[in-house]
Symmetry: none
Subunit: 232 residues, 4 copies
């Protein structure tokens, strides 16, 4: 997972010019801490409201109230509502890529990596962060073209991660895949399965208690799929 490190974006970096100096004054340091804290507060408040009430219902005023800041402050940290959603998406997708990527790495890109990534997705990410799930797969859909472009980039990166893991896997096992597109197709398929399984069993109904079984079966399905596209 080479480019996992994504730069955190912030609207203005006027202060960062002084941050280049090696030592910030105590005041400046505290200010910076507070700024980052506020930035995170707003993202958290937005995450909760977007997930609970939907992107359209969650007005900027209510997000501001919920984050205990003024509406103006929202617009100081984020250009507009769209921008807020996009940054939220970035943050969530960054976390998810780290989560999955570290499983691939831990297992040294063996089949076990694919397996544990699946388990971690369903049993960690989905169960612990249903809000992130809802934003990634539900609330960020059907918005503006800009958000859609951003979604595409995010999913392209996730797909690239999985695709790379699959290619390393085949290298390790001295296997080839059926066609030149197979790795990409499998990566897209796996993410499609993740998405709709999570949507079906956690967003549309609450089968969180059976997540273990769901996770096991889904992973087994994936492994069967991969094997069936592998050639010696």
């Amino acid at each position: 997972m080479p480019d996992l490190i994504v730069e955190k974006k912030m609207k203005k970096s006027k202060t960062s010019k002084s941050a280049e100096k090696k030592s910030l004054s105590k005041t400046a340091l505290r200010r910076q801490r507070e700024r980052e804290h506020r930035y995170e507060s707003i993202l958290s408040a937005a995450e909760l409201l977007f997930a609970r009430e939907g992107y359209l219902q969650a007005s900027m005023e209510r997000i501001a109230d919920s984050a205990e800041v003024s509406v103006g402050t929202l617009y100081f940290y984020f250009k507009n509502k769209e921008d807020l959603l996009v940054h939220l998406l970035d943050k969530i997708s960054f976390e998810l890529r780290e989560l999955l990527g570290s499983e691939f790495i831990k297992a040294d890109f063996s089949l076990d990596g694919i397996k544990s990534a699946g388990h971690v997705f369903f049993e960690e990410f989905c169960l612990k962060c249903p809000e992130k799930l809802a934003i990634l797969f539900k609330e960020s859909m059907g918005r503006s073209n800009l958000v859609e472009e951003h979604r595409k980039q995010i999913f392209d990166k996730l797909i690239a991660d999985v695709q790379e893991a699959l290619i390393r896997l085949s290298d390790n096992r001295k296997l080839n895949y059926q066609s030149a597109l197979s790795a990409e197709i499998m990566a897209v398929s796996i993410l499609g399965m993740y998405e709709r399984i999570a949507y079906h069993f956690l967003i549309w109904q609450d089968s969180s208690k059976e997540m273990k079984t769901i996770s096991k079966d889904t992973v087994a399905f994936i492994l069967g799929g991969i094997n069936n596209l592998s050639r010696q």
Copy 2:
């Protein structure tokens, strides 16, 4: 596919309630034809505009213009914009279920049915009806709770169809699946794969020329997955 026949919904028209088909005068018949024609015109106009410009961008006025009726007439045939989308979704999902279901039936619920359903989805439905694809998987997302409930029902039916095919398949082959949930999980997985493969290769990029390969690999992945969850 037992309940494939879905009742066509139409606002109960005041004239049709008093007149059964057999005893309609010529004038009344022509009127009914015109009514149905308008109904379809509106749905078609909405389908095109929702797909091309997005649900939010497609204002009721533009839909009316495009269908060559007045805004008022839109509201005569459909309760509101949401209702228009819901009826469109119904129509599209009905067509898709018929398409997939007939493949299952033709193959007598053998593995071939799963295979040909996949090919038909990618090579017929997706390629020939990109607008329907966009509405089913893109434009109907992130709307109101009511639309979301409707989506759930539609997908539940699609899942039930696939699940039934999978169960009949296992009966035919005297096999069992790994767990009680396996059939449902596989059905959801398959539809999730359909959805994101189509989204990735047709909505986000145009790989329509490689649809044959994509279709083949995806179906192979599915068959591998099914086999891996089957026990003698």
Copy 3:
């Protein structure tokens, strides 16, 4: 004054397609009358509020209230607030051009035309329509680029009218002006005098009782100026 007839602009001309038919139904005729009446009501309300309270202070809501329509109706007739101002400017400038132009024509482009145009401007237009005066010379200034462009076009037309009158005048008198630019410079000067005399004596202070004297002196100044730039 050749192109005095300016087409009245209206947002949509959907109805005008039926207006091409020679005979509108009574209903359609009444509707059209009502539409034009509303359009004028809104312009009148805006004229009053823009002049009395200033363009920025006059909110769309208050204009709507004042015209006894809803805010939505405002936006049905005019694209936005800017558009409302621009149409108002057009209407006012059209009236002013007609007023001045008819004086030039009545006097057959003699010096008397210049004289009576001045008197009519100060003693008719300024005294009877202080609101139009305020909008033309005060409230439409310092707004957006689009409004400024419109102002330029309006003043260019007024200048062209006066310039043409001056050129015909010199033709009639078998005279030439000092330079090639003289006619334009004089036209601009005359309008600049009109503007600031009106602004000074009617907008900044109320010398309406002395308007006769002011008018007489100003016209005398203009005639002296013209003569001084004329050569046999």
Copy 4:
């Protein structure tokens, strides 16, 4: 030009009240110089931005950036944005009055003073300071009542200057003007001509290369006007 000396206004600085110039320490002197330098920087930055981008577009933040100070500092030197504009107007009008006034004085209030004042206005002020021109005649229009009042005072002073020059001129030439208001009317007319000629030929279009001709014709028009209102 009796009251040409206009007091420079500055928010009474807390240090200057306790320290008269004579007894200022070196540090205090340097501070005062810095203060005045900042004050001028801000005015210059505002002048440029107001003229180039318009009063409304030029936000306080951008003015601060441009002057290389913080927003807070802006508010230390000027009460608010309006106040900044008003001080800028004062400065500009002071310069203009000095320019015109000195021409009147140099020519000892003869007709030549009127002539050279015109030439200096068009050929010096307008050509060299287009930003000042734009602020005086364009950007300061259509703002708040307070700015408008200020404009009135500024123009009243300019009018009074010209009016005084005209009166002294008539005294020198042993002439009378047509009416008691004539001098005022001519002064207003002349300034109106200045304004709109400059606006038309320099702000709305760039005829700077023909400024000599324009200036000559305009001055000739003015002299003709003055003569026509003079009685022996």
